[in-house]
Amino acid sequence: MIQYFAIALMLVGVYGLLTQKNVIKLIVSLNIFEVGLNVFIISVGYVSGGIAPILTSQNNTSALLYVDPLPQALVLTSIVIGVGVTALALAFARRLHNQYGTYNLDEMEGE
């Protein structure tokens, strides 16, 4: 069920990328897309009724039902990359505003 929600979020992001003209709104759309993707990645590893995949003194056998830890590791990397890209995109937005005095892509003149 949550996977449909994640895919819907991704589609909202793509819709934003296709329709928005404002640089900041484009960056927000990109982030919505990434959040949807990250939720999807997490949902792939989810096991109904599973516990955190950490061996403790109580949970110390492999017979227990654990959730898949790999997607959680992947999503961490994905989030970090997303933050980096967003920071860079915002820096570009700032420079664009300095250059053209507007955030609207249509109003930016020249090449």
């Binding site: 991704m10 793509v14 990328l17 640089v23 484009l26 990109l30 897309f33 990434e34 993707l37 999807f40 990645i41 792939v44 790999l70 997607p71 992947l74 990397t77 994905s78 990359i81 980096g84 890209v85 860079l88 995109a89 570009f92 937005a93 420079r95 664009l96 250059q99 892509l105 930016m108 090449e111």
Partner: protein, 484 residues
């Protein structure tokens, strides 16, 4: 023992990355670090090539594959890393003065591109691709073209997001991220499931196509490269093109489960890229625009060959293309920077003034067209023979027609650049404009050296001189041509 450590491919990634961190603190010597990393990587790649004894899987962190991340050193990635590091070194040699404050970014890019070629893990491939792409977003903004860089960033991030989505879908099905593990599981998969596998494959292909410049996903290329300086242009059309297309080839040859419809769709994208890009290149008047569209067209051709399982011809075409493009784009960028224009009409007879540059440029262009006696011929004839052997008639026809188009515009460029005066007019030196090029000797020397290599690799296989060479790559080409 020491040799084992020094010839570990992971150093090709780790050393530039370490130097990149050092460059943050040692800003004053960041260019020295960049040069040192480039030289060390060339040396490392050479050492790996000398000590190479067949396919090797390098486990990282002591995890046995398919767990953990592993690097793959085989014929394919070996050619890739040797070419990449040599090309990267040449780019720095030719365009070092444009590095400015971007030494750290270039170090990260060098590490990531080596990683892209070497990795055997899908998620790791995504990470390296993304690091390489972020570096590219940054250095394409070097010329203050923030709008185009922003456009590239948005398209690139969306593309790598789709690529990641495809990877996760595959992981969901097979529970593995190791390419060879997935390949093995795919070979046991029920062919009836191919419909379900189409979604992840389409996602991954689309994502990679953005960086591989396949149309329509590679629309960012025009804005970014149209005004690019020699450094940025050469990096994108040669170093990045090489690494990303090799990654695409690796993914196609391992993970992609080609059923009829999926292959037809991908082939249409690749062939469409070839046709549209050659047509666009034909209609352009600026040298850099012609070259960037020609580069896009070559990406389409290489992707097409990979899709039909013709890995060896694809690598040959790719290698010939990136080496030629390195020279062509450096010369074009140099004209634009030093002479203030790269309009073909304004550069009439420029090569009479700089014959060395002209010879290198001409040889590279001829090789790109695929004329005999140049390396491009060896590559293209292999591609065509391979496609015919696979029972395909239409694709060779498309490739040949497009080669004629390519020939037409390159011959037009070459005749203009070698002759003063207008068309139909007798060329005379009196009409030669004064051109002033800084450091034309270095560019000339390097482009002539590249030209010699291109001609040698084009002539030697034809002479069947392979018995005099024990280098694998030469016998490789020799056997291929012998089998015709």
């Amino acid at each position: 023992m020491l040799m084992d450590i020094l010839s570990n491919p992971v150093l090709l990634i780790a050393v530039p990355l370490l130097f990149a961190f050092l460059a943050v603190f040692l800003k004053k010597i960041d260019k020295v670090l960049l040069g040192a990393a480039a030289v060390l990587n060339i040396a490392g790649a050479a050492l790996i090539a000398v000590l190479y004894e067949g396919t090797k899987i390098i486990e990282l962190g002591g995890f046995k594959p398919p767990f953990g991340i592993s690097l793959v050193l085989d014929d394919y990635s070996l050619i890739g890393i040797v070419l990449l590091n040599v090309i990267f070194g040449l780019i720095l040699l030719l365009s070092g003065k444009h590095v400015q404050k971007y030494a750290m970014v270039l170090l990260v890019a060098l590490a990531a591109l080596n990683g892209v070629i070497l990795t055997g893990d899908l998620f790791n491939l995504f990470v390296f691709l993304e690091i390489a792409a972020i570096a590219a977003y940054i250095f394409t903004a070097m010329d203050k073209g923030f709008k185009h860089s922003f456009n590239y960033l948005v398209v690139g991030t969306l593309g790598s997001g789709l690529f990641l989505f495809g990877i996760i879908l595959l992981y969901n099905v097979f529970g593995s991220l190791n390419m060879f593990d997935i390949q093995e599981k795919l070979s046991q998969a029920n062919p009836a499931d191919s419909g379900a596998l189409a979604l992840p494959l389409v996602m991954m292909f689309t994502g990679l196509s953005v960086e591989a410049k396949l149309m329509p996903f590679g629309g960012w290329v025009k804005g970014v490269l149209k005004k690019a300086n020699t450094l940025v242009g050469a990096l994108i059309v040669s170093a990045y093109a090489l690494a990303v297309l090799l990654a695409l080839g690796r993914v196609i040859s391992t993970v992609f489960f080609m059923s009829g419809a999926v292959r037809i769709a991908f082939t249409a994208v690749a062939a469409g890229t070839l046709v549209f890009a050659e047509a666009s290149a034909f209609s352009r008047k600026n040298l850099r625009e012609v070259l960037l569209f020609s580069s896009v067209a070559q990406s389409g051709l290489v992707a097409l060959l990979f899709l039909y399982g013709l890995t060896v011809p694809a690598v040959l075409v790719l290698a010939g293309n990136v080496v030629s493009k390195l020279v062509l784009f450096t010369v074009a960028g140099k004209f634009a920077h030093d002479l203030g224009t790269d309009d073909i009409g304004d550069l009439k007879g420029v090569f009479i003034k700089f014959p060395l540059v002209g010879v290198g440029f001409t040889a590279s262009a001829m090789s790109l067209i695929g004329l005999p006696l140049f390396f491009g011929f060896v590559a293209k004839i292999n591609a065509l023979v391979g496609l015919f052997d696979a029972g395909n008639v239409w694709l060779p026809i498309i490739i040949l027609v497009m080669a004629v188009v390519e020939g037409a515009y390159f011959v037009r460029i070459l005749t203009t650049l070698w002759n003063t005066g207008d068309e139909g007019e007798l060329s005379s030196k009196d009409k030669l404009k004064t051109f002033k090029l800084n450091g034309s000797a270095v560019v000339g020397a390097v482009s002539v050296a590249v030209a010699v290599v291109i001609v040698a690799l084009g002539v030697l296989p034809i002479l069947n001189i392979k018995q005099f060479f024990s280098v694998d790559f030469m016998t490789f080409i020799g056997q291929l041509l012998g089998g015709m």
